[in-house]
Symmetry: C2
DNA sequence: TAGGTCGGTCGAAACGTTGCGACATCCACC
DNA sequence: GGTGGATGTCGCAACGTTTCGACCGACCTA
C-alpha cells in the first residue's frame, strides 16, 4: 500500500527515460531545469513521493540505518538518565547525517542475539552501555560483518568510546580521604550479568565482568580507599540506592562516607540517610558518579564525577557513520571531572 | 563491507540452483533435509550470514520496520516516564513480531517534516505522544502513503490509541470536591506548540491545541472544578512543577488543592509545598495524572489517575503491525483509574 | 502397466532503483 | 568548415532476493 506508482510511471508520464527521471530526484548529474520541472510535475500529478528507499538502498549498497543496541527492558534502560543522554547524543549526530536509528533491544540474560540484530538492515551498529556487549550480540555482528562501535566497553578489534572511569573514581577516593574519611561504604553498579546483587565481600570482591564497574572499583582502590562495606546494586535505580543505603548504614562501625557508582544510586543513599534522620554531610558524606541533573533532590548538590555523556553518544555515532562509509574510526576515552557539591564534608570526629 | 558473498555464491558452492538455496533459508516451500544441510554447510563455509535484508525487503515489498515518531529532544522526551513506558510497550509488541523500530525525532516547532520521515524505509508509523502529530509530519506520511497510528491524539482518517483523559480528570475533580476543596490551583501540560508557558487565564483559557491537554482541562470543568488559578507548564518536568507550584501557592487566597496534568508536575508541586513548609495534605492537597512510579518521593503516595501506559504502546504497535500488513486496525480509548493516595485530604477549614 | 500425485528442484521474471558508457546536439573557436 | 568540449538524454546492466510455474522422477493406486 506504500507507493504503487514507481519511477517508471513517472518517466512515462513525463515523456523521458527512467534514467532521466532518476536524475531529477537524485540531483546527481546534469539535467536541464526544464526537464527536471517536467518530471517533478508528473511525479506530483501521479502522487509519486520520491524513490523507493528500499530499492535505492539495494542499488546503493547502503541502508542508511545505524542499529543501536540497547537493553531489552527499555523501561529500566530509559529510567537511567545516563542511557538517555547517550542516546540523545547518538540521535543528534545521526540526525545531522540523515541516518536512521534502529533500536534493537537485546536481552543480556538470554544466550542468543535477537533476530533483529542478526537480520535487520543496517550499515553499522552501536552497542550502548557496555551491558549489551554480551558475547552473543558481538558475535552476531561479527558474523554479519557489520562494523560495531562499543560504548563504555573495550572489545578487542572494535572501536570503543569510553570515559575515564578509574580516574574519576580515584578522584572521588582522594577527595574523601582528603576530608578525613577512612570508613567508606560503597554501592556498585551490577557486578555482572549473572552476579548476585547484595553484599559484596570487600576484601576480595573478585573482578567485575562489567568493564566500567570493574574500572570504577579499581579506581577507588587506586585512590587509597578500601571500602569497609559494599553492596552491589541490581541496576542504576533510586530504589536500589535506598535499599543499599540502609544496608550500608547498618554496618558497624557505621561508615562516615558513602560512594555510589551512579548518581541515581547516590540519590538513593541520600534518601536512605534522610529516612534515618542522618544529616548530610555532617553525619555522613555521599558521593556519586555521572553528573546528571536530579531536580527533585531538594537543596542538596550532589558531589559527583561529571562525565561527558552526550558527547560520548555523539562520538559513538560519528564513529559508526565513519565505519558505515567504510572509513576507519578511532576509539576514544573521554575525560571526567570531579565536581564537589554539598553532600560531602569533613569526616565526623 | 557488509556481506560480499551472496546467495548466488552459496548456491554455486552447494551445487544447487539459486531458488533452492533460497528455500534453504526462507524455509517456505518443500526442500529435502539433505539439500538444506548441504546449502547451510556451504553458507557456513563461505561465511554467508543469511539473505541480504534489503534485497529481501525489495522483493517482498515490506521493510519489516515500523517508524516511531518522537519529539526531537530525546533528552526531554525520555525524561518523561510516560513516554518511556509507552515506548517500552511499543518495543515489546514490535519485538514479538520481529519488527524493527526506527526512531524518528521530529521538531514540532520547525515547519517541515524531517527527511527521515519522508524518505526512510518503513511499513507504518506510530506518532507518539500527540505532540508529534503536528501537521507537517502527518502530511508527510499521507503523501508517502504510509499508514499511521496516533497515540494520545485523534486525527481524522487515522487510527488512534488514547486514554480517557477527560473522565480521569473529572474523577480527580469529583474527588477533590468530595473533600471539600473549592479553591483549586492547576498546572497543565503545554497548552500548545507555540503557546506561551506561565499563567493561564482561568476564566477563558481558550482551547488547548494539544488534544489531551484540552481533554483534561475539559474533564476538570465537567467534574465541577473551576480553577481559581492556573499555570501552563513548558513540559512534564519536575522543575516546571516546582516553578508552577510556587506561582500557584503565591495566589491569594491560597488554593487548598493543587492539580497537575502529570505526575512529574505533581511531584514538583509537592516539592514546592515542602519548600514552603506546607504540610501535605493538611495544608494543601496535591493530585497528579499518569500513575507512574516516583521512588524518590519519600513516604508520600501521590493521589493520581493511573492510565495503562504500557498497554497503550502495545496497542499502538499492534495497530501499526496490522496496518503494515494491509489489514484494518481499530482505534481505541483505554480506561483510566483514580488512585487516591496520601497527598489529598479534607480541605482545611 | 498406465495414470495420477506429490515432493523436490530449477529457470526466469520480477522488485524499483542508480550509474556507467554511449550518443546526440549545440556552441565556440581556430 | 571542421574539431573539441560541454551539456543533456538514454539504454542497459546491475543490486540480491523471492516466487511462480514448469519440470522430473518416484511412489501409489486402480
Amino acid at each position: 500500500m506504500t507507493s504503487r506508482v514507481t519511477l517508471t510511471d513517472v518517466a512515462r508520464a513525463a515523456g523521458v527515460s527512467i534514467s532521466t527521471a532518476s536524475l531529477a530526484f537524485s540531483g546527481a548529474g546534469p539535467i536541464s531545469a526544464a526537464t527536471k520541472a517536467k518530471v517533478l510535475r508528473a511525479a506530483a500529478d501521479l502522487g509519486y513521493s520520491g524513490p523507493n528507499p528500499v530499492a535505492r538502498s539495494l542499488r546503493r549498497g547502503r541502508s542508511g540505518v545505524i542499529g543501536v543496541v540497547v537493553r531489552k527492558d527499555l523501561r529500566q534502560n530509559f529510567r537511567d538518565p545516563v542511557a538517555i543522554q547517550t542516546l540523545d547524543g547518538v540521535a543528534t549526530t545521526l540526525g545531522e547525517s540523515d541516518l536512521g536509528m534502529l533500536l534493537i533491544p537485546t536481552d543480556d540474560a538470554s544466550g542468543a542475539a535477537p533476530d533483529l540484530l542478526r537480520h535487520a538492515a543496517m550499515d553499522a551498529a552501536i552497542l550502548l552501555n557496555g551491558a549489551a556487549a554480551s558475547a552473543p550480540s558481538v558475535r552476531a555482528l561479527r558474523e554479519r560483518g557489520t562494523p560495531a562501535v562499543h560504548v563504555d566497553a573495550a572489545v578487542r578489534g572494535s572501536v570503543s568510546i569510553r570515559v575515564q572511569d578509574a580516574a574519576g573514581m580515584r578522584a572521588v577516593a582522594e577527595h574523601l580521604r582528603g576530608l578525613g574519611h577512612t570508613a567508606v561504604g560503597v554501592v556498585t553498579l551490577p557486578w555482572g550479568p549473572r552476579a548476585a546483587p547484595g553484599p559484596l565481600e570487600v576484601s576480595r570482591p573478585g573482578r567485575s565482568s562489567v568493564p566500567y564497574t570493574a574500572a570504577r572499583w579499581a579506581g577507588l582502590l587506586e585512590g587509597g580507599v578500601v571500602p569497609v562495606v559494599a553492596q552491589a546494586a541490581r541496576g542504576s535505580w533510586v530504589e536500589e540506592g535506598i535499599r543499599a543505603g540502609h544496608a550500608l548504614l547498618d554496618a558497624t562501625p557505621r561508615p562516615t562516607a558513602l560512594v555510589a557508582f551512579s548518581d541515581l544510586l547516590a540519590a538513593g543513599l541520600l534518601l536512605a540517610a534522610r529516612e534515618r534522620g542522618l544529616r548530610v554531610p555532617q553525619d555522613v558524606s555521599v558521593a556519586g558518579f555521572d553528573g546528571v541533573d536530579l531536580p527533585w533532590l531538594g537543596g542538596d548538590v550532589l558531589t559527583t564525577v561529571a562525565q561527558p555523556i552526550r558527547e560520548k553518544g555523539r562520538m559513538a555515532a560519528a564513529a559508526a557513520i565513519a565505519l558505515a562509509a567504510g572509513e576507519p574510526a578511532r576509539s576514544a576515552v573521554l575525560g571526567v571531572d570531579l565536581r564537589p557539591g554539598t553532600t560531602t564534608g569533613p569526616a565526623p570526629s
